[in-house]
Symmetry: C4
């Protein structure tokens, strides 16, 4: 079960849907987070899912937080001449099947608000740490978008660089195209492993994004904001790791789940 809880129902005109969830370099997550903060995005819906990790986190030492993805909207104005829906959140699905289910639910939801265009943001692990300027890499669902964006600072050679896009960043576009939505993916290039949030790559993506949708955005606070967000992202990651270790140990001493048991369970 994947549940999307509508907190309030904004009237949006032809909104563009922008996704940025945790992943390689957390570029999607921090880019979307910065967008929401700088543009004053208003949360209007939350998604939680049986495909997420089965725990709650503790905020401010005492407040219980269910893992969620969150939908924000931004109305058009001086910063941008069109309405936006921005999706960000704590995590992605734990299982392959979950990725399909969660992505489909997200698309059905944003389509109801009139969404016809999608921009997803992710990272591309180059495995190198170099100082050369690295262009944001792009991929599209329809060739017409390639023409539309051909003069932007985007390398449309994702196929050569990586060949595939895993999870929501890819599936939202792939399934979206089946649902008559067109889209482009922006992949910031980052060194890769170990995963470290890469604010520079996020900034580069945001510059391209601003150019793509004629958005005016103050980039000066990105360093500070990313540092703040990073702390939270790291916490989620660390807790998942710790929770997992505990579950494993627990299992070994006779709890409901054991290594052998799961071998059987498959």
């Amino acid at each position: 079960m994947t549940v999307i809880k509508l907190l309030n129902k904004p009237k949006l005109v032809n909104p563009i849907f922008i996704e940025g969830l945790p992943g390689v370099g957390n570029i999607g997550r921090v880019s979307a987070g910065y967008l929401v903060e700088e543009l004053g995005g208003k949360k209007f819906a939350e998604l939680y899912s049986e495909w997420f990790f089965p725990f709650v986190m503790l905020h401010d030492d005492h407040r219980i937080h269910l893992l969620k993805n969150e939908f924000y909207y931004v109305k058009k104005g001086s910063h941008c001449n069109r309405d936006m829906i921005i999706l960000t959140g704590d995590c992605q699905s734990l299982s392959p099947q979950g990725h399909y289910d969660v992505s489909t639910k997200i698309l059905e939801f944003v389509k109801k608000f009139g969404t016809k265009e999608i921009i997803t943001i992710g990272g591309l692990a180059t495995g190198e740490l170099d100082d050369k300027e690295q262009k944001v890499v792009g991929a599209v669902t329809h060739d017409e978008l390639l023409k539309k964006y051909k003069d932007k600072k985007l390398d449309f050679n994702a196929g050569k660089k990586v060949g595939y896009i895993v999870g929501a960043t890819g599936l939202l576009l792939g399934i979206g195209a089946e649902m008559d939505m067109k889209g482009v993916c922006l992949l910031g290039q980052t060194a890769g492993y170990p995963i470290i949030t890469d604010p520079k790559a996020a900034e580069e993506v945001l510059i391209v994004l601003s150019d793509l949708i004629d958005m005016k955005m103050d980039m000066s606070k990105i360093g500070k904001r990313v540092t703040e967000m990073e702390e939270f992202i790291k916490k989620v990651e660390a807790l998942q790791k710790k929770a997992l270790a505990e579950i494993t140990k627990q299992s070994k001493s006779g709890g409901a789940t054991k290594e052998d048991e799961t071998r059987y369970i498959g």
Copy 2:
């Protein structure tokens, strides 16, 4: 499929829902078990689920017992000035997905009886065996509960101690909040691994719980009761371990499930 079978339908007024299932130190399980016995809780519903271990246990050497969670109610009276629903049982879900499904079904069920408040009981593995008094650790779904309970013997610093709560103890509160129920989690501190039922931690939790909901309860039999319950809990754990070992061996000699097979099956 998770099935809740209603045995009889009590009329309850604004019941508080208290959960205690097997987990760290089995503190939830034995606390809820003691509550049911001391307050004369009456069973009114049973839950079983495809997410539980696929076996039946044998009681009294010959009677077949499907793994279950059980709902009891206690009407208000001299012991407590409000109605209660208490959930306890044999086990929790085997899989992450199952935790979400079972928790959601439980919450939908108790909500029908007018539940607006939840208390879940669990354990927190400190990894230390010390004699110092260790306060019960708490976490809440809403800040107003923090104010309400601020003078109780509860350390609202679960975030510092652990950061997350796995399984029903966490999800019932996290998902419960989405369904407009408020709640608090009581975590008894226990040494942790290997899992040993910790009656002292259970007693401490029960003292805090009594204080929280103005409950009068004779604590003198807790040692004896826990010893009784422990035997059963240990049996369930041991059987799961043994069943698992058998399944694994069986598989290796050509049964339907093999180590390699499950690697494929994923």
Copy 3:
């Protein structure tokens, strides 16, 4: 999806449902198979399920056979004074979840024919090869059955011997009881690993079963019949093993499923 395909709809009066599927010592499988052959059981329904191994077998070198469970009926007559439904088949579920789903579907199906009583047949691995006569071990869903069968050659001490019953043999009784069906489980004692079909244990179970339901059955052909059935059972097991090995190798050379991949997939 678990599908039960009705081939024809017999009129049955208060039929007793007898289950024997592959498992420890294949005692259930061969006992049920012998029952069907000796009593001239007529197949009236077939079950197949997404929880079974995803392959077809080849019979007579060229004919494709989907893995199935099969329902037979026997009308009352000189051999037995009541109608019977007998379930046997190629395999059980591959996953824990599947066991619950398949068992529930089976019970819903037989209940429609008026079934109120269930007898499941399984094996109990003692880990010993001895010549002493080993009584069939029993377990029941309701204490009244213990009284009813107390003079039969059944040791109602399964709890001491094993403590649990895995898969259909256990769940059909456990879930059956929730659906107002009563039942008894007959466990033939067998040495256990490696799994070898144990015709002697099957014979002992059939003798007890005959006594339980006042059935007259010629036992003289059991050795021959079991030998025939054993060949097929071994084939299924061997094919699953081989299929699995192939899948695994295939995966390693770049197929859709790899060891690492399944680690991710979970």
Copy 4:
């Protein structure tokens, strides 16, 4: 969720359904691909599924491609005296359960167009590289087909050679028979591991297929076509491998999925 998207609805008369998806030697995939190209098959439906790998591929370096299976039709004419539906595609299901689900959805779909006969194409890994002519191996759902095809160049001894058929190639026939469709499976013999696309085996299968359904087809381009297709097939395989490695590494540095985690998750 498995979705079949109808692009246009052809009127077909008693079409024969021919399946060729990736698998051993990719014989099915390249045979079906060649059929579509040579006979000018028109795509009329696409299938995608949550049971496929959760990523999108990049074509022509920039275009996003959701993993799919594709349905083509060919109307009867000079090449063949009956209508055909041909299924080919990028991949098969990742999980056992998925194989059943996807196969069932495919069969329900083609049945709506009046399909009563099925031919599936696969490979049989002999583990040997020899130059002797190796006949195509066959298996059928109904004995009448054995008679019908007994003079064709088909060895109906698949049972001796392999004993089972995994995935869509087997299940489409096994489940198809339950849905009143009859069918035959053509297995090209190939050396096997490591998987290398085997155009010679594909050619042999196509010759037998042409004979079976009185199809006239120019075989002269098969070498060239297979080479083209092979590049794409290899790419899909390589990307899945690479994507997987990335996911694994990502997990180890704190992402949502870790080796230990999946041990727990089962």
